[in-house]
Symmetry: C2
Subunit: 620 residues, 2 copies
Amino acid sequence: MPTNDQDQWRELGQQLRVDSIRSSSAAGSGHPTSSMSAADLMAVLISKYLHYDFGNPDDPRNDHLIFSKGHASPLLYAVYKAAGAISDEEMLTFRQLGSRIEGHPTPVLPWVDVATGSLGQGLPISVGVAYAGKYLDRLPYHVWCLCGDSEMAEGSMWEAFEAAGFHGLDNLTAIIDVNRLGQTGETMHGWDLDAYASRARAFGWEAFEIDGHDVEQIDAAFARVGNGGGRPTVIVAKTEKGHGVAAVANKNGAHGKPVTDEAEAIRELGGERSIAVQVAKPAGDGKPHVFETQGELSLPKYEIGTKEATRKAYGDTLVALGNALGDVIAIDGEVGNSTYSEEFKEAHPERFVQAYIAEQQMLSYAVGFQVRGWRPFAATFAAFLSRAYDFVRMAAVSRANIVLAGSHAGVSIGEDGPSQMALEDLASLRAVHGSTVLYPSDPNQTAELMSQVVDRDGIVFIRTTREKTPVIYQPGERFAVGGSRIVRQSNEDAVTLVAAGITLHEALKAADLLAEDGVRARVIDLYSVKPVDQATLVAASRETGAIVTVEDHFPEGGIGDAVLEALAAEPGRAIVRKLAVTIMPGSATPAEQLEAAGIDAEHIAVAARELAGARAPAQA
Amino acid sequence: MPTNDQDQWRELGQQLRVDSIRSSSAAGSGHPTSSMSAADLMAVLISKYLHYDFGNPDDPRNDHLIFSKGHASPLLYAVYKAAGAISDEEMLTFRQLGSRIEGHPTPVLPWVDVATGSLGQGLPISVGVAYAGKYLDRLPYHVWCLCGDSEMAEGSMWEAFEAAGFHGLDNLTAIIDVNRLGQTGETMHGWDLDAYASRARAFGWEAFEIDGHDVEQIDAAFARVGNGGGRPTVIVAKTEKGHGVAAVANKNGAHGKPVTDEAEAIRELGGERSIAVQVAKPAGDGKPHVFETQGELSLPKYEIGTKEATRKAYGDTLVALGNALGDVIAIDGEVGNSTYSEEFKEAHPERFVQAYIAEQQMLSYAVGFQVRGWRPFAATFAAFLSRAYDFVRMAAVSRANIVLAGSHAGVSIGEDGPSQMALEDLASLRAVHGSTVLYPSDPNQTAELMSQVVDRDGIVFIRTTREKTPVIYQPGERFAVGGSRIVRQSNEDAVTLVAAGITLHEALKAADLLAEDGVRARVIDLYSVKPVDQATLVAASRETGAIVTVEDHFPEGGIGDAVLEALAAEPGRAIVRKLAVTIMPGSATPAEQLEAAGIDAEHIAVAARELAGARAPAQA
């Protein structure tokens, strides 16, 4: 039962502080002082307001408690201990090899929704979860997000404030622990609570300013949560970093380290306690809303010989997935008529989320939705996914399952110029742990691959092309993630061309040019850049002895490097020539751009001829 | 002379609209309607308020005019034409191959400070330029930044509002062109000017709400700029997208495309005009402030046999560079006691800029400072540079010269866990056009490399290590960017170990282990990851036949891939085994992390033994 005993709240606050000290002292590192400031806030929250069944973290009715200030992990673990979720013994394995009690929270613990520790991410993701609660699940759970004052400097926090205010997320409460001190000194606003509250109010939030160590004030503020007439709530709490221990309280220089005298600190706080909190379980028998579907999956079909852009196939297929699967959600970065997410908006308006031009919030919606089991597809220009790269990186730490689609890849977008061209995206997204990187070359292939990744774990990136390209595969042909397709092949291949996306079509034209000179070229469609089809590449290396890779991307970290990696362990492997964009492009037509970058059919043919010729004498 | 003729302002506004239509119609693409909304604002600005010598864009006294809404490039080029900077003929080469009149503005034009087109970047960079004006140059130039309303959703805009308000940048004016319509539909706030103004005021700005097509109101607002008592100014202007042409005015669906009937549109606007504006030149004889220096460069020295972290060497060397060079500026992401930027703060407080936890603004300070010729060094954890990846990408398009330092690279940071570990940074930053990527292995080497990159063009990334590592090089030893160092070598080397940073020291220990088994290993310190020392790697390939690369980074796009690329064209090249982090790390000590990730000395030795053994029979 929830307790209403103020003395016990105060005692629990002391316990949470003591336990934060104990775990960080046991570890020899960590952030006890950043935990101590927020202990009273959490004590009241878990004693009276949080509704959560720690025995059943998958209960869809559960509230969500997200520490945006992830470095206050000692406090979070002390909360879990008080709630009976983990033992004192496990809590004290903090930061040890193999322990779930990691330095910053990650979902290896079942009560942690998402990894935090890169500041400014927990609140945007909380917005995502709260949006899911209000508009997708349609369940009354509440999202509680503990924020630091230092992280309020991150723009992503204000994307979150804007989004939550706009959508009227009254099921979201942000608690800003204004302990005044950052890592190296005072924050911009110190204890000026009104600086935070006035900003939040301007963004459409209800804001309460309180003493974050006064349990009565805390209780009063929490009691008013959700009464703001459709507005999200922020509780701006004045606190002391290291509160309760004179050696560190409100002292600069005490960030991110254990207290120097653990015993004295615990004595000052009144010693160890073992209060067990009976956290209220969620009430009611609500079940997540289920969106209606329209039968079996029916993928769009494109006729061989026609032309279509893979970005269009993305939009078409997304609609088809949405028809068949009620949990598919589309998120757009206000470019839906470019990415073709707008087709999904038309077909499934209740499952379409407009993130506006706020890519960090776009990623956060995706991560937040998948916390609740939805299958998000988020799309913008591939270049602008770079705006949310830290969120993608952290999504991997969160073990999130999301699909990202990036349109307008490479110089082949044409006249708009380099600001709109993704030329680093394969490199940056290949490097994300456990990611899948697809770069389809054909609309039917796009559809087929999308039908597979909807069930795939981890971060999936689909790179699409602005220009219409020839349809070369039949509808219904199978393309496996991790596979490739040999589009042209003979027993006399003197060189292999490896390409994907728009450059595959240039490679096919190059193969025609080479054939005119009597040079047979194998052409491999490397639509799965990660994982990569090592066997096919090794066979090509052995059988043709020379490989030209060609990609509409800068030279580092893309298709060429994926090929080189696949062949790294191969003795006597083929010579590889990487064709990629080595210039800083300007404006020009798509065809001119491909030529200027040296990745069009002519350039491919020249490189391939050189390699085939150079190799011939040695083989003779 | 500046004009005060309202009729002429109105005529000029029409001219700017007509020219925006003409250039985009000539190109067959572009954003005339987004240009037309802001034409009157720019007409008044350049006629009366802008101080700029278009004949001498390098004049330090010049104002700065930055289009944060870079897609309104037709308007910017129309302004340049009206100011006599470019001819009508050149204006009409918009978006053509080889033209300086690119789809979005870039500094190939001498009046463009920075490339824009990725929304939400122009204002943060304007804050950087304005900060330079007030605190570095100490000149009275004004920074005028034209913003779109759609881009106000980007968190980076609010980082900029926060920073400018905090620093009292009354030499900065943001002009928000509230034309209501984004790419696909209405913005969150439509024509609710107060939504923007109230947010801006909460962030400490002076805000004026006006009709952006009423030249009197525009004039009155500009006249009040800088009178806000140390506050930056924002002019929130209600405008119509496509204003003046009925077919597109305030119509959704007219974004990013030429008008359908050019002749009719120009007729509606009163026809072509050729008003030449005499833009006021900057007044006064002010010269940029020069900071005092303390003689010749004297790099810090570290004694062989001691231990020191390369991040500490970064801080020490930054101070030394600051002593000798008055234009070196340090920017910190509120982790200066981790990156050791704090040493520079102590030594050169006037040249130290605290960006707080706002990495996008941190990058924007750097880009803004280098606009004015300062040499910025910006540092945070390498993992958190990912937060500003789009800004780094665009900095390359801006041809910016900046140094980025990322500390706490890799799993070897230990207990803090994956949120704090940079494991994708080499991949993402290698892929940036024209970038230099350094990963020093020793403090003296760090100092030497830093003394070189201070003069280097482009984006320079220095990756530093949290842990103290042995000093292995003498003070004063030369290390060239693009070079490498063979640390161990013999005529009987059976394998080469390639490493950098913390793994170099593991490789050296591995070489000792291998030597105990009679296996000679060459060890290469690949401190320059890009550009890479191809000659040394090719020689190692030929002479040892087997290469193990080892890096504290995920497998894609880092040291291993740089080595593979260097050997791609080499016939019969060595077998390469890449050791890198393939797991998602948790918490553990640095040594445990290296072991768990398979990149410690033992794992290197095992891999090297296998390769050397596997190769031996074939060579025998």
